[in-house]
Symmetry: none
Subunit: 408 residues, 2 copies
Amino acid sequence: MILDELYSELTLKTGAKMALVVMDGLGDIATPEQNFLTPLEAAHTPNLDALVRRGCAQGRMTPVAPGITPGSGPGHLGLFGYDPIEYQVGRGVIEALGLGLELKAGDVCARANFATLDAKGIVRDRRAGRIPTETCEKLCAMLSAKIKKIGDTQVIIKAGKEHRFVVVFRGKGLEGPLTDADPNREGFAIPAVKPRDPKNARQKKMAKVIADFYKAALPIIAKETPANGFLMRGIAHQPNIPVFEERYKMKPACLAVYPMYKGLAQLVGMTKVEGPQTIKEQFERYVKEYHNYDFFFIHFKYTDKAGEDGNFEAKKKYIEEFDAALPILLGKKPDVLAITGDHSTPCAMKGHSWHPQPVLLHSKISGSDKLERFTETGANLGSLGVFDAKFLMRHMQANAKAFDKYGA
Amino acid sequence: MILDELYSELTLKTGAKMALVVMDGLGDIATPEQNFLTPLEAAHTPNLDALVRRGCAQGRMTPVAPGITPGSGPGHLGLFGYDPIEYQVGRGVIEALGLGLELKAGDVCARANFATLDAKGIVRDRRAGRIPTETCEKLCAMLSAKIKKIGDTQVIIKAGKEHRFVVVFRGKGLEGPLTDADPNREGFAIPAVKPRDPKNARQKKMAKVIADFYKAALPIIAKETPANGFLMRGIAHQPNIPVFEERYKMKPACLAVYPMYKGLAQLVGMTKVEGPQTIKEQFERYVKEYHNYDFFFIHFKYTDKAGEDGNFEAKKKYIEEFDAALPILLGKKPDVLAITGDHSTPCAMKGHSWHPQPVLLHSKISGSDKLERFTETGANLGSLGVFDAKFLMRHMQANAKAFDKYGA
């Protein structure tokens, strides 16, 4: 807290251009099964290699704290320079933002999905057979038409993909987090939500609103097949996060494809630049938008997906695809460029992990660690050391000469 | 604190087996006198080398904080995952636990030793000529027979080795720490103890109890030779340390030879497994107890002793002895294995130091830093970086997949 205040006091507006390029789940581990090579080490990355040889500082980042495996939320908040333990974001909020809903302070959001209930109210299919998106939109429209308010609380319902939707509750005296209205497996009834903190009156009110919402909503879709019910999870309010543009004195843009990452960027006040679907298109759009923003968050999802699938060859291939597109970005090189992941997703683990992700930082004054490539093992030797991800933004600011000297 | 709470929330019970193997005072420094080799570098360690090549993460650990040289207490509390600045343990408590006394919450313990006083009560020999253990036991029995209580405070006296013993005060409203009843050199009288915090009423009461204890005890041994007096140090109560088994959801065992380390392990609630005297026997016993516990703390003392003696060749030899025994442990390899020290004891310094000790972490998902050996200089290149020793347990938990994912 005190440190953040110091950073704020020292922060200057420079107009320098920065790009934070995130290969999701980039980090990996060396295992005997892959001849002790990580995908990043095995990949052919001539453009990253050339960048490294032009002079980069490297290091590894602890996403949250030693040993802690982050979800995408904490992973990205750290990258954006916010302490992911201090600022906790519920899944409902992230989903709502990802669907383009404009949240207001105090809004409570729930991640919901349509489900199939039997005559006794027992959950028989938690995803209602993954109904088509059009069906989901129709059901959401039915609910929205009949439920505008629960008591004095405004209700906003928005369809997502397939069986997914979000519900935003806007009103006075509401707060999360609550327990889930989801048995988390089939064969059980939908549990009533409860305050996470039983003494919190605002959470109690919120739990009552959710209960009343269920009473009003379930009869509306009771005759539908297969989606005659719904579950709600991650019920929490939007945290009070300092706005990116004020914090760093930079105008930020988000170039992401997937809703969650757009949502996370929007949470800290980044402008979503919509359209590009591939990393090549994202870099091309970056070039076009170069003069419109100071800071670009560019998100590449597929390294994480391949890691989650345990598909080493695919992860390697996506890194090579990324590398092939990189010259577009480098054609209009930002003053400060960071390339990293939001966490590791080792193929051997088929999931996120706590292993520190490698990071590469390039600017005219980044210095050079005299490494040949950008890899996990190489990054161990870098001048940035192993550091908390929340400090990456501070390194980037420093490389943009965006900090006043501290003290005489 | 908040971080510890987060770790607690995320901690899962997995049943995975872990071993924390401590070569006391392992870390050392490279000096020109030894051709810039540390004992660990100079030693022939084929088994550690082979383990490293199978895939280990390495790093170096700051025992307490940069520049701080720890005693064994803080060194081990850090290894056990407790912040050694937050949890302070008096030497009396450690000695009492080491002698097998079962302490209760609120007990105040003093480390004591028999001394020789002259007719005027001046300390002439602070160790009473290092009387044999049998004499010490006889003297303690004499005191115990006549002193059961001081006021409403129960007094428990237990002999240690040679001139050493401990006194435990059990009663209401007692607290440490107090100043020592020890002039710390010969030629002076035994000073009266004082509260460390003059405003603390419980410490005041405790100081009165100690004064009354002296009044009652000194006449009982006044005619003995050479031990006609005693000194008391490290007078403090047992700190309230979260129990290991609850904190980590693992059943822990201690395989240590020396009382202090058993005491430290007992302080956090580990079960002492008694019997083994050599590292070979300790590893053999580990194999036998494998199914009875989840976590094994295995302590090897002799590297520290050699360091304290400034005996480079001996420290090297003990490391080689350790290495030779290692295959016994590896024959029944735990899911997560950490090998490290509790601090450095550089031969060139003949004492503990602050230099970060090297640490090796091995599991199926530790990844590999692709190093050839386990050494101080090599560990500098590892993926764990330089980190606070209190986080080693968190790394071990992560490697056992004993943490839930944090956030969505």
